[in-house]
């Protein structure tokens, strides 16, 4: 890749604040570091990854509103966690966290357990209980 070919396909994802470094060759074929605001294929892949996350969050939100799942599912998706990661944050087994995703079980959780979930999601207990 020549210096002039280093892509500068900016998009609004980095809010113009971030430039990453590439290695490219100058006219004499010498490698030099060049900064780039982004490249179209990477932007596409990144946008797609976030769309997937947003879709999962929205699906979880609908399930919570329909009474099929507890807010634990919604906030897990929202904080881009998966079951093993969330389980290790709250110090429980995966099957226990899975149980807590049932509204009936969630409603009976102790304050201590709710506190752990709220801390893992970095929200208040009040926010944890209500999904809008």
């Amino acid at each position: 890749m020549k210096k002039e070919e280093v892509p500068q396909d900016g998009n609004n994802m980095h809010e113009g604040k971030f430039r990453q470094l590439f290695y490219a060759t100058d006219n004499a074929g010498q490698y030099v570091p060049v900064t780039s605001v982004g490249w179209e294929p990477e932007n596409v892949a990144m946008t797609q990854a976030w769309e997937e996350i947003h879709a999962k969050v929205e699906a979880a939100r609908q399930r919570v509103l329909a009474g099929e799942a507890s807010p634990v599912l919604y906030y897990m998706e929202k904080t881009i966690m998966d079951l093993p990661l969330l389980a290790s944050y709250v110090g429980k087994f995966q099957w226990q966290v899975k149980r807590h995703m049932k509204p009936a079980v969630f409603n009976k959780l102790s304050d201590n357990m709710l506190h752990k979930y709220a801390a893992a999601f970095k929200i208040s207990i009040k926010e944890l209980k209500e999904v809008k």
């Binding site: 590439f22 490698y31 990477e42 093993p84 990661l85």
Partner: protein
């Protein structure tokens, strides 16, 4: 008086932006002690270049692909090969981990740390996934906050203690466990010949000789074969996600472009100059061309992702491009392994 204290606490740290966090931290910390090793040189000596496709190791349901060796390996190898003594510690207790950081900083020593990018507030929001093996350097404090030299950022920055603690003690795999490290003995004069030779030998071995289909050049072919069948095996939606992940691993921050291939080419070029070996310079030029094929692959893969059309032909074409990358890299590393250093 207050001013004097502040100056005593604040060591000068010469921050330089790099492409990849691990080779970047190595280069930045060593420079602090007067040892000038460029990022590509650190990457080459540490034999950072690699390829692996692990369909069984899924991240958010997507098979893992990597273009470099496992986190931590470059650092370990470079220190060993250059004779740099590093002290490193992990902690089971957050407070102890933060106290120890403060103690070392007070001695005027820059401290490298492992962190999760999810908890770094200065990081671009779109990159903040739960990735736990990001390296950064703290080089002092400004009141409560820590002064940070994050190698992939353009300038130095600051972070509040709470966020830093969360980042250092993130859960998940691999858990950083507050890992910190600092140099205790850095030689001023070194010969690069032997470290370069060892680095090249290891890279050639890793790319050509691991007797499993998922690693090195065989790994590229392995991915090529699987990619061809994505649309029929996992369906259109997932195929696009899988493809997107391959692009991200290849081009997202840290790779220096084309999944580290350009960074390694820069290393070969620098090594050619240091050792006066023209062959290495020629191989650097050849690897640059391979890097361009990788980029062409990413470019076309990006178009497939964008169109989201079920088109088996396009997947077959992408697979063909990967086969070409594999063939070219096999040739290149075979030649490289024959260069006598």
């Amino acid at each position: 008086m207050g001013e004097v204290l502040e100056v005593m606490n604040d060591i000068q740290f010469n921050h330089e932006q790099t492409a990849h966090c691990e080779s970047g931290v190595i280069s930045n910390i060593f420079r602090h002690y007067g040892l000038h090793i460029s990022e590509p040189m650190a990457f080459g000596i540490g034999a950072g270049i690699f390829f692996a496709h692990l369909p069984f190791v899924k991240v958010n349901g997507v098979p893992g692909t990597t273009y470099r060796v496992v986190p931590g390996a470059i650092f370990k190898r470079v220190c060993k090969r250059l004779g740099v003594k590093i002290e490193s510690q992990t902690f089971s207790n957050v407070e102890k981990g933060m106290q120890e950081l403060d103690r070392i900083l007070e001695t005027g020593t820059p401290v490298g740390m492992l962190s999760s990018v999810y908890y770094l507030p200065y990081f671009p929001a779109s990159y903040r996934f739960h990735f736990n093996a990001h390296n950064l350097v703290a080089y002092g404090k400004s009141g409560e906050n820590y002064r940070i030299s994050d190698p992939i950022m353009e300038t130095v920055t600051e972070i509040d203690p709470k966020s830093l603690a969360e980042a250092r003690f993130a859960k998940g795999f691999p858990a950083p466990k507050g890992k910190l490290y600092y140099a205790v003995d850095v030689p001023k004069e070194i010969s690069l010949q032997e470290p370069i030779r060892q680095g090249i030998n290891q890279a050639c071995h890793d790319m050509l000789k691991i007797p499993l289909p998922m690693f090195g050049v065989s790994g590229i072919r392995y991915l090529a074969k699987r990619l061809k069948q994505y649309p029929e095996k996992v369906g259109e939606r997932k195929a696009v996600l899988y493809l997107g992940n391959i692009i991200r691993m290849q081009e997202e921050i840290g790779t220096g472009g084309a999944g580290f291939r350009f960074m390694y080419a820069a290393f070969l070029q620098e090594a050619a100059g240091i050792l006066q070996r023209e062959e290495l310079s020629v191989l650097s030029g050849e690897l640059t061309k391979v890097g361009d094929i990788w980029r062409n692959f990413a470019f076309n893969a990006g178009r497939v992702c964008k169109s989201r059309a079920v088109n088996n032909v396009s997947y077959a074409e992408l697979s063909e491009m990967l086969m070409q990358c594999a063939a070219e890299e096999e040739l290149l590393f075979r030649k490289l392994s024959k260069v006598k250093i």
